[in-house]
Subunit: 418 residues, 2 copies
């Protein structure tokens, strides 16, 4: 069977599964999730053996130590995946919730009810835990999932997806509710993201290159964020001790993630009081500083920032720093150079805070807190499938609710339109 | 200036306007809407003169009487547009509404707040009232709008858009909040729908050809419905008098619209009792019947339906009719051949109703009522900008709320991530 036919058939099977998944009760779904977790536990040896094949191939291919680490499974990492499945089972099922109900003057009762989206495709890179996390979150929200992981984790992903499917089907999960595309070429991604009428949504998870490629090839809606160029703006009325603590945390606590700060903006009125202290503290943590002219004037060790620096997602211990005139200039800088992900103001001035939260066109806007909190678990939403910097459908952390849509159900007694 | 540059500049101007629109209060927006209505009133002569030019050109080009009628403006139609602006002013402003607020154990207060989407492009065909309806609805929800109407209504649209902009700007509407692209070529549409980073959403309004063309060219999200292949299913336990009334209403009350019925499905247990009566009543209203074998057996005047009939949006006094085994077969038929728009069951059996509303994967699902009610005004949502059969962002009638997105605003007291 050729690739096009094979993937089209998977799409049709996923759609058939999705229709059945939409009618499962929360209780039934949780029983299935328990069975998935049990099967992961029962197949530890298989999973680790599959992972060992991927690691051997990865070493031979010369993957970096960091990549090999992300690829590696261990008993502890399998424990974490199993716990992740249990955590998702514990989340409230959003499907069936009446979002609102109202009565029209002609007696029609209109209800807006949460329903699953249908078929969701996840395109991801090397971390095998994404296989389990994505599949169970999509399943709990009543969706069929088509997974396509990276070639480095091919055997691991297959072992994990088979365990989920086998475990789930023991307890009545519809066949093809969880499917993994074994072909790891770019062509396979193209076929998946062009399954109009079968796949309802694609979520790419990985680097900017992968996400751009998916968005360009896709004929079905894509929910994504390209990158996180996050800002902290220290206002004239900031508590400078608080600002220092927040800036250091946002930059260095985990610099390689999308909600880490990449640019620090400082109001000119506090630049002299704040920057020497702040930059020294950051440099002590190993951060390289790239500043505008005024920053370089205050800090002789700073490198001059280039025009490209302001839009750069370093994902590393590098920070661009700029002095701005006021909150309006900070908002303009963020809207122009930022990525609409997570941005923070530190201020004791309520008007400045309001100007910032109203003006900054980002998914999450913070007053007096670190941007590092943009995360489904930190928001109390439970597990998340990613962060959306899109504006349609879902924005910010995407949990179970964001994996649903709604339908209107109208109850009448024979009403016709006059 | 070439077309690409011209439209790119309009996009940049729209984005700048959108940033300012996002901070306008409801009161301010309503004052601006009043000024728009007043300006339409003041410019009646200009508008009618522009319309006369379009009509003359249309007659010369040999447009059909129906198209010329849709193109024609009159004092009464201008009155209706002005009333439409007042109706939108009277609607509650969704922007700024807190959708939810919660407190995390670490003291962070997370609020999910409605905000405008940003820049919305509307691509439409010949009816000039769409210019006014779309612009004011987008504006009230805080969005900048880029309008691109059909070439037949070019002068009318320009006169209307200029009146809205001039009226609004008298009361402080940001410049470029309402813009009309005067170039009516396909190339202009392509340029608009590829304005990534400037246009947030495109809504095509018109025939299936226009909508498919927009969806294929677009690089920004499109909210749309291709067509409305709507069904009425008459169940074994239906009140047959009610079923007759609903079926006739759904088919003939206004056959040329997307929520009119195109296919009637009848449970085999009531086919003999229902079909002869129903088909006679429909035929009396001028409806041509195309039936499956069993329908043709019961009704010698029916034409045999071809395979294509089941997926056809007639928009005319034509109906395909099929006898089905049970509610499950009806659901399968609808999910397979339908367009996920509006479908109805007529039944007194609650289990059948539930199987139908759960099983049918459509934006709006009716029990004992006509599909003709799928409409923003009939739902009590006020004006609508269209019906979405997409599953992401908005589904069903799209009113003011559906022209917004949300952001998370997080209020802290210096919290950092440990």
């Amino acid at each position: 069977m050729n690739l096009h036919k094979e993937i089209y058939q998977m799409g049709e099977q996923a759609l058939a599964a999705a229709r059945r998944l939409a009618t499962l009760t929360a209780r039934k779904k949780n029983i299935i999730l328990e069975a998935m977790a049990a099967e992961l536990d029962a197949r530890r040896a298989d999973i680790l053996a599959a992972n060992a094949r991927d690691l051997a191939a990865g070493k031979e291919a010369g993957l970096s130590a960091a990549l090999l680490d992300r690829l590696t499974l261990s008993e502890a990492r399998i424990d974490a995946m199993i716990k992740g499945v249990a955590d998702v089972a514990a989340l409230k099922d959003p499907v069936g919730t009446r979002l609102s109900t109202w009565l029209r003057p002609n007696g029609l009762q209109i209800s807006k009810v949460r329903v699953p989206i249908g078929v969701i495709a996840i395109i991801y890179e090397s971390r095998p835990n994404v296989t389990v996390d994505s599949a169970v979150l999509c399943f709990k929200a009543g969706n069929a999932v088509i997974l396509r992981g990276g070639k480095e984790a091919k055997h691991s992903n297959l072992a994990l997806a088979r365990a989920l499917a086998a475990g789930g089907e023991k307890k009545g999960m519809p066949a093809h509710a969880v499917q993994l595309v074994e072909v790891t070429t770019r062509e396979a991604v193209r076929e998946i993201v062009q399954l109009e009428g079968l796949v309802d949504m694609v979520i790419p998870r990985g680097g900017e290159g992968l996400i751009r490629a998916v968005a360009e090839m896709a004929r079905v809606p894509v929910l994504k964020h390209y990158k996180g160029v996050c800002h902290t703006y220290v206002d004239a009325k900031a508590d400078l001790d608080m600002a220092l603590k927040i800036a250091v945390n946002a930059k260095v606590q985990r610099p390689g993630v999308c909600n880490a700060m990449e640019t620090l903006l400082v109001h000119e009125a506090v630049a002299e009081a704040f920057l020497p202290r702040a930059l020294a503290a950051l440099r002590e943590k190993g951060v390289e500083i790239r500043g505008d002219e005024r920053v370089c004037g205050l800090d002789p060790e700073a490198e001059p920032a280039s025009a490209e620096d302001w839009a750069e997602e370093y994902l590393d211990l590098v920070l661009s720093v700029r002095v701005v005139e006021d909150v309006t200039a900070a908002v303009e800088h963020i809207n122009h150079f930022g990525s609409h992900h997570s941005d923070a103001i530190v201020t004791a001035d309520e008007d400045a805070a309001e100007a910032f939260t109203e003006g900054v066109d980002s998914a999450t806007v913070y007053v007096n807190a670190s941007t590092r909190f943009t995360d489904g678990a930190e928001f109390g939403m439970g597990a998340e499938i990613g962060i959306s910097t899109d504006k349609l459908h879902a924005r910010g952390p995407m949990g179970l609710e964001e994996l649903t849509t709604y339908k209107y159900i109208i109850q009448g007694e024979g009403q016709i339109r006059e």
